[in-house]
């Protein structure tokens, strides 16, 4: 019995082994269990997939926003960021002769963030072209939306880097990095294309935008935003009359509230939603200050303000314990946003009024410029403009009003650069330097 059992066992095991050897084990095709594939949405996407991409475009347009504001704000001496990263008070201010690096967070975060959104917009455009689940009107809606968002992001890149890559459709064969003028021309024509698309898109979008786009969430109202962006792009190109034309089709109004306009909204929930990156916790008192992660207002912004400018008191507050960090200090800290989910304006009427002033100066309609500037001044509790009504004087006034109306919103560095005024910035420490443009990231291999 025993022997028979042994022999049986022997052959059973041997048999099993050879069976295993002979039947070759095939590994099934591997599918990512953690997310849908890009190729999957590019061919025959469902409406749901298109809408998810559309939301992704809106969501990722917030990428890089925090560093964009603090880096350009620091370089333009609007603010200091006191936190644990010494580069915020070192490299960005050119401390002790250090140069800006093209492989550090301040030079990559915004570039990476904006291009993530640009890529999503491109994917949406490609996906719409390769599916037949949407009508022509719906298709135009997706295209008008995606192109407008793409153009807006490219303008942000231009403001910080002065150059951009426009053709990014093939990741393995990217188009050239274009100069400022060429990029801006491409952006403006993209905006015009988008506007045409929006006009063919019927009365509603097939997708849902967040509450940040309330009043701008149909093809016709989204076009108001599209024209606002076009007006901005036009003044950046020095084209006052086109800007004025665009403004007339936008939500620009000298009488409406200054805050009207689409916004980035924030959330603390899942799915990579994000908090307002420019919010900082307020210092409660001298015994409970928050100096460790704080946006400190550059003293010059406080000191140069006209007496009674309410923007100083609404946007900033006195620090109860003005500590020094890295040899720098300031008397005020930010109050720009109340909470970590307070929305941030993408473009608001206040900026458009200033764009109107700028475009009017460029178009030599100086009294229109004064009218616009007075709207801004009065809103800030200041009397009407009383200076000379010349293009130069009004430009100075316009830039000054932009300085206070758009503090810490990524405008100042570019405003000074485009008017060649960066050299007027103060130097706070011996050995500091002024930089007004970020280097293109190392990984672009330019």
């Amino acid at each position: 019995m025993k022997n028979i059992f042994k022999i049986k066992m022997k052959y059973t095991i041997t048999g099993a082994l050879f069976a295993l050897l002979i039947t070759s084990c095939t590994i099934d095709e591997v599918v990512d269990p953690n997310g849908p594939s890009v190729v999957g949405v590019l061919n025959g996407a469902s409406k749901k997939q298109l809408n998810e991409l559309a939301t992704g475009v809106e969501s990722t347009s917030r990428n890089g926003l925090g560093v964009e504001v603090t880096a350009s704000g620091t370089m333009a001496r609007e603010l200091y960021l006191f936190d644990a990263d010494p580069r915020n008070t070192g490299n960005l201010l050119g401390k002790d002769g250090v140069s800006l690096d093209n492989n550090s967070f301040y030079s990559t975060a915004q570039w990476n963030g904006s291009y993530r959104c640009v890529k999503n917009a491109s994917l949406l455009i490609e996906a719409v072209a390769n599916t037949n689940v949407v009508s022509e009107e719906e298709k135009s809606g997706y295209l008008g939306y995606a192109k407008t968002m793409k153009a807006y992001e490219l303008i942000q890149i231009l403001k910080s880097y002065g150059t951009a890559r426009v053709d990014i459709s093939d990741p393995d064969n990217l188009g050239p990095v274009l100069g400022f003028d060429a990029t801006l021309a491409a952006v403006r024509s993209l905006l015009d294309e988008a506007n045409t698309d929006l006009s063919n898109a019927g009365s509603t979008f097939a997708f849902t935008l967040s509450d940040g786009f309330t009043d701008f969430d149909t093809p016709s109202t989204f076009a108001l935003f599209n024209r606002a962006v076009a007006a901005v792009a036009a003044v950046y190109a020095g084209d006052g009359s086109s800007s004025l034309t665009s403004l007339s089709s936008s939500f620009f109004s000298l009488t409406a509230g200054l805050t009207t306009g689409p916004k980035y909204v924030f959330g603390l929930g899942g799915g990579n939603d994000r908090a307002n990156p420019v919010f900082r916790v307020a210092s409660v008192s001298a015994t409970e200050p928050n100096n460790g992660d704080q946006i400190i207002v550059h003293d010059s912004w406080i000191n140069d303000a006209e007496a009674g400018d309410t923007r100083v008191t609404t946007k900033t507050a006195v620090r109860p314990d003005p500590s020094i960090q890295d040899g720098l200090t300031g008397t005020h800290e930010t109050r720009l946003y109340a909470t970590n989910v307070t929305p941030i304006d993408i473009i608001r009427n206040e900026e458009l009024i200033l764009v109107y002033a700028e475009a009017s100066i460029l178009a030599n309609n100086l009294t229109d410029a004064v009218t616009a500037l007075d709207v801004i001044r009065n809103a800030a509790g200041l009397p009407n403009y009383s200076g000379a009504v010349t293009a130069d004087a009004l430009t100075t006034e316009m830039l000054n009003q932009r300085r206070y109306s758009l503090w810490a919103e990524n405008h100042r560095m570019f405003d000074l650069r485009r008017y060649s005024l960066s050299n007027t910035l103060p130097i706070d420490r011996a050995g500091d330097q002024v930089f007004n443009i970020l280097p293109i990231p190392l990984s672009e291999n330019e």
């Binding site: 066992m9 591997v30 690096d101 603390l268």
Partner: protein, 978 residues
């Protein structure tokens, strides 16, 4: 007494009657094998008539009987765990043979194929073996990897955290993979072990950049080093080729303790010790003037006020890192068995408190190892290990404004600000950083717990056994199941949380299942009258690994609550991974008279992690060892071993899970679910990186191996290195992982051992190891790039992949030019290991380790410079540094060191004393004191030159950002054997 005498007489009488009759034809030798020292019978010893196939084995009490054809003969007595002995026997009858227990004889056999082993003397590779005695014999050891320092040539061990429970990375013979798995494959009793670092999600409160900045421990920490019988380290591809595509970074084969059979032995050990900080940096010696010049007059006033009221400054470094942590380690095990079944049953509990209050590690480990012989044909081994481990690691390492990491907080904390809680338990805000370290230590939590079962099984079937041919079939495999839970809690009252996240909790539930199985047929053939042994084997292997990581987080917590449900904002992350490997292998070993030993082998592997999951990749190996001292012409008595050896082998490493996918991640806003391209652009055609290694060397044994030398040179090429590189971000992707480069590692390993003195009252064993490695990127298909996630950009310094340069170089942007500022690769490493026995009962041992050269990027100093708290800022040197440009050059420091890694003194009570005191039931008592990291000599300015901000992954070692400081340990040991 009387009875005994009578029995003896009877025996003599019987012998007198029977011996003459037996003499006529055959001689029978009877006797007993006993263990030297204890006098106990040694069971299951092999007893062979030398020069013949005639043999037997001793029974459970050590008795044996062997019949020989003529006298005199030489009897060879041997078994695993005992020194081999040859006894001349001139007359038949009863003899007693004493054998000595030996750990050294264990080194004799080394695993080379998956189903066979080879005598060390015949090995063609430099395989390092670490015995139990070497591993844990000196001092208390928390983790296996931490216990290997200075014990293996060619290994570079990096500690990423000084927290109890470790955080270690092993690199064997340089970096062999950058984005793939460059940790060696760890196999315990045939089970492929999971050695992951599991992120806890604390980065969502601290602002850390990636999971690997959370400084989790690696899960090899679950294995109790005291359970280990020995460790074999297959360092390069030439030795590890038979492990195919899992062998690129080397293989660590761990064998746990087994029952030896015979009388049940019980061993009890108690270690008691303390953890203290190894190296305190101290406070900057502030003066009122320096406070004012660094900050301003207001700060000077605060400084003066504190001096006046407190009598001095607050030493927060001491407050946070100055805890004396208590350590206990209790172990009890029993071994024994009979002819059919042998067992080892053990349990241990280690509880270790860290140098930061409320940190610690504890581990309960239970083990049952059973060997059972079913019949002459079948036998099996089952190894079962259950582990429950918990750790509390608090907050260290890189962060961004979380106010949690102590090193960060301390860098900005000014020692004149009182941060201690008041009588009502209210903690003051830290005016200069968004966190009060005392609050964080007392109230915030970062913990994990692990339940783990590692089960191995092996069935051995002797299919066919004849004199010259033996065929065995081995089926073995195992399961490693790990259920891990992580828990991070930051109260809503934490400074950085107020007005922000309003309290944070993260609960991780992570499951890992690893299953491996193999079937191997082994054919041993002896021919040429026993001069040629051929061992042929072939088999198949299968590997299946799954993980499911779920991290639930809540913020805006209900006051004082830690349940995720008690929060306003909830976020859940989930990550799945699934991997399958399948492989075939075959190997032939030939041994001609222990003179020429050659091996040829081939392995074919496929993996679901490759672009084409069903494409087979081949990994050949070949080796030759020539024992010149065994050749007939060799007459030099003084040199008993002279072996030259050469080996070649190839191994592979598939891309990490996920590298083949280009997927969309979630990106929600305003309550709408969105998708966005993730950063990674996958490569659907990615191939495994493959290493080929050629190794040559020689082994020398002098004076009957009292002195031995092992010398090895290796040259290893990694082809098609899988690299994550930054893509032009304008493509929408930030990284891609694909085959981009070739990498070369070459190096030298030398090991000398000697029994310097071998007297009755003084014995001294010494060992010196020397090794070095050099690497170079020999091909790069893309422009040179900064390795993503391995540094802080070229502004502060980063690892930088560049053709013609070492893979370990650190590069920074110096005045606009990318410049190599350092290299983390040491010039060489040495270890000096000594065991002394004095007056028989005293054992003294110490292990010195020297790392020469190698640089670190000390970014902790960047922070303390910025905070004005670097201890040297009162000196002209410190001020000069402070005034210099903040680039990588400023923060690179030499990181060499000389360290007394282990030192111990033990006293073994003489057995007579033990018997007198405690009677026969206690066999031996050993007492001792020991220390770990007793001193370190280094120029490095921070806590420990051994650092890694990014855990064990990839290129990570050598960059420091506020680590958990390393500790010194002191122990008292008690060991009792029953």
């Amino acid at each position: 007494m009387k009875k005994h005498n009578h029995f003896c007489k009877m025996k003599i009488l019987l012998l007198l009657i029977f011996v003459p009759t037996l003499l006529l034809a055959q001689e029978t030798i009877t006797g007993k094998v006993v263990v030297e020292g204890t006098g106990q019978g040694a069971p299951f010893m092999n007893i062979i008539e030398e020069g013949t196939n005639n043999g037997t084995s001793s029974d459970i009490d050590g008795n044996f009987s062997i019949t020989v054809s003529s006298l005199p003969v030489n009897l060879k007595v041997f078994a695993l765990g005992f020194a081999e002995k040859t006894v001349p026997v001139a007359t038949a009858g009863n003899i007693t043979i004493q054998v000595a227990e030996s750990t050294e004889s264990l080194e004799e056999v080394v695993v080379t194929g998956l189903g066979s082993s080879i005598k060390r003397a015949n090995l063609a590779n430099a395989v390092s073996t670490v015995s139990s005695e070497e591993l844990v014999g000196n001092t208390g050891q928390t983790t296996v990897d931490g216990a290997l320092y200075g014990k293996v040539t060619g290994v570079n061990i990096t500690s990423s955290s000084g927290a109890p429970g470790g955080g270690f990375a092993l690199r064997l013979r340089g970096v062999s993979s950058i984005n793939g798995n460059n940790q060696p494959l760890v196999i315990v009793d045939g089970v492929y072990i999971n050695n992951v670092e599991i992120p806890s999600g604390l980065r969502f409160a601290s602002g850390g950049n990636r999971g690997n900045e959370e400084n989790s421990g690696n899960r090899l920490a679950d294995l109790d080093p005291n359970d280990i019988e020995n460790i074999e380290v297959l360092k390069g591809s030439s030795a590890a080729a038979i492990y195919g595509q899992r062998g690129n970074a080397g293989v660590v084969i761990i064998t746990t303790k087994r029952g030896k059979g015979g009388k049940t032995k019980i061993s009890f050990s108690q270690d008691t010790g303390i953890n203290v900080i190894q190296n305190k940096l101290g406070l900057r010696p502030w003066t009122a003037a320096s406070v004012e010049s660094t900050f301003n007059a207001a700060e000077r006033d605060k400084y003066n006020a504190t001096i006046a009221s407190n009598g001095g400054l607050y030493d927060y470094e001491d407050e946070i890192y100055g805890n004396t942590g208590f350590i206990t380690d209790t172990r009890i095990n029993a071994t024994g068995g009979n002819e059919k079944t042998k067992f080892y049953v053990g349990g241990s509990y280690r509880d270790e408190e860290g140098i930061i209050k409320n940190t610690g590690f504890d581990r309960l480990s239970l083990r049952t190892n059973i060997d059972h012989r079913i019949s002459d044909v079948f036998d099996f081994t089952s190894t079962t290990n259950y582990v429950r481990s918990n750790s509390s690691r608090s907050f260290t390492g890189n962060e961004n404004e979380g106010g949690l990491s102590y090193g960060y907080t301390l860098a900005f904390t000014r020692p004149w600000n009182n941060l201690y809680p008041d009588a009502d338990g209210n903690y003051p805000n830290n005016p200069n950083y968004p966190g009060n370290p005392i609050f964080v230590r007392d109230q915030a939590k970062n913990e994990d717990s692990n339940n783990r079962i590692i089960q191995g099984f092996k069935l051995n079937t002797k299919l066919f056994t004849r004199e010259n041919n033996r065929v065995r079939l081995i089926l073995n495999g195992g399961v490693d199941y790990l259920a891990n839970e992580t828990y991070v809690y930051v109260p809503e009252t934490h400074q950085a949380q107020v007005g922000n996240q309003e309290g944070f909790v993260a609960q991780g539930k992570n499951n890992f299942t690893q299953f491996n199985a193999q079937a191997i047929a082994v054919w041993n053939n002896t021919s040429l009258n026993g001069d040629l042994d051929l061992t042929t084997q072939f088999g198949i292997t299968y590997l299946n690994q799954k993980s499911n990581l779920v991290n639930s987080r809540g913020s805006d917590l209900t006051g004082g609550q830690t349940n995720v449900d008690q929060s306003v904002n909830q976020v859940i992350d989930q990550f799945f991974s699934r991997e399958k490997d399948f492989g075939y292998f075959a190997q032939v070993e030939g041994n001609y008279k222990d003179q020429f030993i050659a091996t040829l082998g081939y392995r074919l592997d496929k993996s679901s992690r490759n672009g084409d999951p069903n494409k087979l990749y081949g990994f050949p190996k070949a080796s030759l060892a020539v024992n010149i001292a065994n050749l007939d012409f060799w007459t030099l008595e003084a040199i008993n071993q002279f072996k030259v050896r050469a080996a070649y082998g190839e191994t592979g490493n598939p891309a990490a899970f996920g590298a083949t996918f280009t997927s969309l991640g979630s990106s929600n806003t305003g309550g709408n679910g969105g998708t966005s391209v993730a950063g990674l652009k996958g490569d659907p055609d990615v191939e495994p990186e493959t290493a080929s290694e050629f190794e040559v060397g020689f082994d020398l044994g002098l004076l009957n191996s009292r002195v031995s030398l092992e010398a090895t040179y290796y040259h290893k090429n990694v082809k098609d290195l899988i690299l994550s590189r930054s893509l032009p971000a304008s493509s929408g992707f930030t990284t891609e992982t694909t085959n981009l480069a070739d990498l070369k590692n070459e190096g030298v390993e030398l090991a000398v051992r000697g029994d310097v003195f071998d007297g009755d009252n003084f014995r001294w064993n010494t060992g010196v190891q020397f090794y070095l490695n050099r690497s170079e990127i020999t091909r790069l298909d893309v422009p040179a790039f900064a390795q993503p996630g391995a540094g802080f950009g070229t502004g502060l310094g980063t690892f930088y992949i560049e053709e013609g340069k070492p893979v370990t170089q650190l590069v920074g942007n110096i005045n606009g030019t990318l410049t190599q500022v350092g290299n983390v690769e040491p010039d060489f490493q040495m270890a000096f290991n000594n065991q002394l026995t004095i007056l028989k009962q005293w054992d003294v041992s110490f292990l010195l380790q020297w790392k020469k050269g190698g640089d670190n990027l000390n970014l902790s100093r960047f922070l303390t410079d910025l905070g004005g708290t670097s201890p040297d800022l009162e000196t002209a040197e410190g001020q000069a540094r402070l005034a210099s440009t903040a680039d990588a050059l400023r923060f690179v420091e030499p990181a060499g060191y000389l360290r007394l890694r282990e030192a111990a003194i033990y006293y073994r009570l003489p057995s007579k004393t033990v018997t007198n005191w405690l009677g026969e039931s206690v066999e031996g008592i050993k007492l001792g004191v020991s220390a770990r990291n007793l001193f370190t000599i280094t120029d490095y300015s921070s806590y420990d030159p051994e650092v890694s901000v990014n855990g064990g992954a990839g290129l990570s070692s050598g960059i420091e950002v506020t680590p958990f400081p390393s500790s010194q340990q002191f122990y008292f040991h008690l060991n009792v054997n029953f």
